[in-house]
């Protein structure tokens, strides 16, 4: 998939919590957890479930850095 977002991380879904409209999907990416807030409709249309392989797409301009 050619897309302008520069960060595309492969991971595995570890949790899906759905509300009325929104859903929170946690993804394990190489031992680190990434949380995605997407609509419940998107969870359903992608058929997302625990164990699915997914790509986490993050625009470079959306990433904040803090010095540890």
């Amino acid at each position: 998939m050619q897309i302008s977002a520069r960060n595309q991380l492969k991971g595995t879904v570890t949790g899906v919590t759905t509300g009325n409209v929104m859903a929170e999907v946690t993804v394990d990416v190489g031992g680190q957890e990434i949380v995605s807030a997407i609509t419940r409709g998107s969870v359903e249309s992608l058929g997302l479930a625990v164990g699915d392989d997914v790509t986490v797409v993050i625009k470079a301009t959306e990433v904040m850095l803090a010095k540890s």
């Binding site: 897309i3 520069r6 929104m22 995605s36 419940r40 409709g41 969870v43 797409v57 301009t61």
Partner: protein
């Protein structure tokens, strides 16, 4: 159709204000940082500040001309001026405040601005939105040929502001007067005005429709000032999400809660660009042709139909994006906000 024609030079403390524009019966918003000279433009048109040079005219009626040595006093200029904090007389009721502008049409104006029931109230008893309508009624009571609004929404809290802004927009469209408004907020400018002029240090650096300013900013400063895409359409709720049918027929989903006539706000950096429709969780995929690619420092503004995306220069180069090719602009429903427009 009357045209307001402004071409003025006003020396100020740290720079010289120097700008020109012609305005048919429509609204122009002057946007820029504090101290850029925006309010001076209004003061010069109203006759409260005297330019060193230039000309101000409405149709054939010349209000100021350095060449012809004309400088009409403020009371001889048919201007309706609404001040930043409205400047209503606190000791007079609404009716007398409006009558102060001119006595003939008070009842008509109170009715038109939906404040007739407040005729006996004092300004201190009114909400921010009501005070603004009183100030507008007083300005209109002078039967102005030009309307000037100085930061018309700055006296309102954030929640009241969006409602009042939608009402003001409708009113300005009905009035069809040449209107100049000053604001430091690009979103206000995009909602209220037909054209937006960006003023920096006394200079009009760019004057265009708000969507063309977002797609094609003349400088990094304009790019940072002009925040968001603003698309218009009609929203209804569908399974907890707003489904907005845009005026061009496309549909956009938003987690915003407004319904009815709305503006959809999307920041360019929330939009990703791809060649094929990605199979991802983003609910919004708008296909269109790239109409322009404008580099601003290390980023590129990519205009796709009426939407503008922002990517890094690196990303645009990696993809080899070109004008004229068809691409898909994708953005999340959570990346949009809805503004009531009526």
């Amino acid at each position: 159709m009357e045209v307001l024609s402004v071409d003025i030079t006003v020396p100020l403390r740290s720079y010289t204000l120097d700008l020109a524009f012609d305005l048919e019966p429509a609204t122009i918003a002057l946007v820029g940082p504090s101290g850029a000279g925006k309010s001076t433009v209004l003061r010069a048109i109203a006759g409260l500040t005297r330019p060193s040079d230039g000309r101000i005219a409405v149709g054939d009626d010349v209000w100021f001309s350095s060449e012809q040595k004309i400088d009409r006093p403020p009371e001889e200029r048919a201007v309706g001026l609404v001040f930043q904090e409205y400047a209503l007389f606190p000791h007079m009721n609404v009716r007398r405040n409006v009558a102060y502008g001119g006595g003939g049409r008070v009842d008509e104006l109170l009715t038109r601005l939906r404040i007739h029931h407040l005729g006996d109230a004092r300004p201190g008893d009114l909400s921010g939105g009501e005070r603004q309508r009183v100030a507008l009624a007083r300005a209109l009571a002078r039967e102005p040929r030009v309307l000037l609004l100085d930061e018309p929404l700055s006296a309102l809290d954030a929640h009241t502001k969006v409602t009042v802004r939608g009402e003001l927009r409708e009113l300005l469209r009905e009035l069809r007067l040449p209107t100049v408004l000053v604001t430091h907020d690009f979103e206000d400018a995009a909602v209220l005005a037909d054209r937006v002029g960006v003023i920096v240090d006394g200079e009009l650096v760019q004057l265009d429709t708000s969507d063309r300013l977002v797609a094609n900013p003349a400088s990094p400063f304009v790019a940072s000032l002009t925040g968001a895409n603003l698309l218009e359409g009609n929203a209804r709720l569908n399974n907890g999400l707003a489904e907005v049918v845009l005026d061009d027929g496309a549909t956009v989903f938003s987690t915003g809660a407004e319904t009815g006539r709305v503006g959809v706000v999307i920041y360019p950096w929330e939009i990703t660009v791809s060649r094929q429709r990605p199979d991802d969780s983003a609910l919004n995929h708008v296909e269109g042709e790239i109409t322009s690619l404008v580099t601003v420092e290390n980023r590129v503004r990519v205009a796709i139909g009426r939407l503008t995306a922002e990517t890094s220069t690196q990303s645009a180069e990696n993809m080899g994006l070109k004008e004229g090719e068809r691409v898909v602009a994708s953005f999340k429903a959570t990346a949009t906000r809805l503004l009531p427009l009526a």
